[in-house]
Symmetry: C2
Subunit: 312 residues, 2 copies
């Protein structure tokens, strides 16, 4: 078994040279066209942490991918990151191990950020005047870095609960060429920005329907369980277009799950991102529409990013 182990440092060295947006767009297309086989997620719950196993393959591809991702919430107390993980790439024709990507969760963060960029690419209004970022964590940073590749706007208003984290975010993201203004008033985000990304683990809605303006696109990245919610369901109700990465998955978790449960929208209103990318469904058709993308993450993103890193 001549399998190759690739470390996080090696992954980080190669990743900036890859066209991951195209790769993951293709993943969404494959998913929405039914070419992806993605079995239910495996789960192991322990006293101190939990592990999720996501796996699958795209018919006609050369590989299948198994991703192991763990979260151990007490780790920071002993100086370890709470998230960890690896991706394993195997040959779809022989089962041979092609590569072990010891990415420690970095590729999951990256493919999540790229999904946000893809949503913005297809759904943001033509002129993004100001980006509104809800949250100051890892994902709120990475989202901005990948948005830069698809949106010509460096003016950012960022919301957070704590002034210290906001100030740190501002300092850090300035180094990436962004003009950052900070706020602790969430209503300012919807009132002043026309491309908004929500990237928090909130369990109660942050963005309010009463603050909604026309001509905005909102991507909700944070809510990936049945409990989490970042947007009031009224926002989805008022939206002209509600998009998701996986209709099957958003029936069970995320903003769309909440909005359908409360009767704010019906399943028929929801369009899959892969079908918009493929031109099979309509995306934004005018600059004054309100669009919402609710992304909970699908294994095709893992498959495509692992393949792209391995092949390069």
């Amino acid at each position: 078994m001549k399998s190759k182990t690739i470390t996080l440092d090696e992954i980080k060295r190669v990743i900036s040279s890859l066209d991951l947006i195209s790769a993951i767009e293709q993943g969404f297309i494959d998913y929405s066209s039914g070419r992806a086989t993605v079995p239910p997620i495996g789960e192991l719950l322990m006293d101190k942490g939990e592990v999720h196993i996501k796996y699958g393959y795209i018919q006609g591809d050369d590989y299948y991918v198994i991703k192991i991702a763990s979260a151990f919430y007490d780790n920071p107390k002993i100086g370890l990151p709470s998230s960890n993980g690896m991706m394993l790439l195997f040959n779809q024709h022989t089962g041979e191990t092609e590569c072990i990507l010891l990415d420690e969760g970095y590729l999951t963060d990256t493919r999540t950020a790229i999904a946000g960029a893809i949503a913005a690419k297809y759904l943001a209004p033509e002129n993004v005047e100001r980006i509104g970022m809800v949250g100051t964590g890892t994902q709120a940073r990475m989202q901005l870095q990948y948005l830069k590749k698809v949106v010509d706007c460096s003016d950012v208003l960022v919301w957070g609960r704590g002034k210290e984290k906001l100030s740190k975010y501002k300092t850090d993201m300035k180094q990436h060429g962004f003009d950052i203004e900070t706020t602790t008033d969430i209503s300012g985000i919807l009132k002043n920005c026309n491309l908004i990304v929500a990237a928090t683990p909130a369990h109660e809605p942050l963005l309010r329907a009463t603050d909604l303006q026309s001509g905005v696109h909102i991507t909700a990245m944070g809510s990936d369980t049945p409990e989490k919610q970042e947007l009031e369901s009224g926002i989805l109700e008022q939206a002209d277009l509600v998009v998701t990465d996986s209709i099957e998955q958003c029936m069970e978790r995320g903003e769309i799950y909440k909005a359908i449960k409360t009767g704010s929208i019906t399943k028929e209103k929801v369009v899959e991102l892969g079908n918009i990318i493929a031109g099979k469904a309509e995306g934004r058709t005018s600059d004054d529409q309100i669009t919402v993308a609710d992304l909970t993450g699908v294994a095709v993103q893992d498959i495509k990013i692992a393949e792209a890193v391995f092949e390069n």
Copy 2:
């Protein structure tokens, strides 16, 4: 992440020095006492092969284990083994990767053979006069090698369909110190041996109830799906004791599944091996009893063998 990758060659170098029988006995005890968490098997079916993901942990242990095992049946045509796989060992307290065992399926074969030895240790009659081996494949070879550690008998009658394979088996196993006689008449096995191991992928019963003698122990290793069967259900009906590694699992696959389905036995007749090892249930109580062990393989065996290899 300072994880260690261990190759098949390194595994083979260390394995003979390990007390794997004790380790896996403890695994069966942990399983039967409810200390093991073993979620449903993950499965990926592709055009040319299939992959199974088995995973779990034992409460109070230091690790959790994820095993990936594949079978690609056309591989031999291009000079590759059909089976492949690896075991991944993680820290149960932090989620850190401790070790990647690139065993290519060897540890699965080994833990399966050891389970057969454990069944013989607790269930074989005191004086094993002749071992009867049904099958001539990899598992039929490994079973014999591990039986040597628990049973003082080197006299073996082996059954197979093809004379060439029988002759090869005889030559190979002689080198391990066994006296091998071969036969293509299956009835000879039950008529002449008092410790029998069936290790074939048969889909129709091989061993017949009419040939059954008193004072025999039979371990059925081969049947691990709802379709496979090596023993006529009448054998389980006549047996004084029917043992399995997992009562839950044998309700859905293997010899016991078949025998219950045809009404030959009821679930109440079945005893778990871990409870016999722990002294909580009775094993063989006299030399003229007929005992049957039906083993379909449980993830605790993978957990225990991976831990033992890693710790050494």
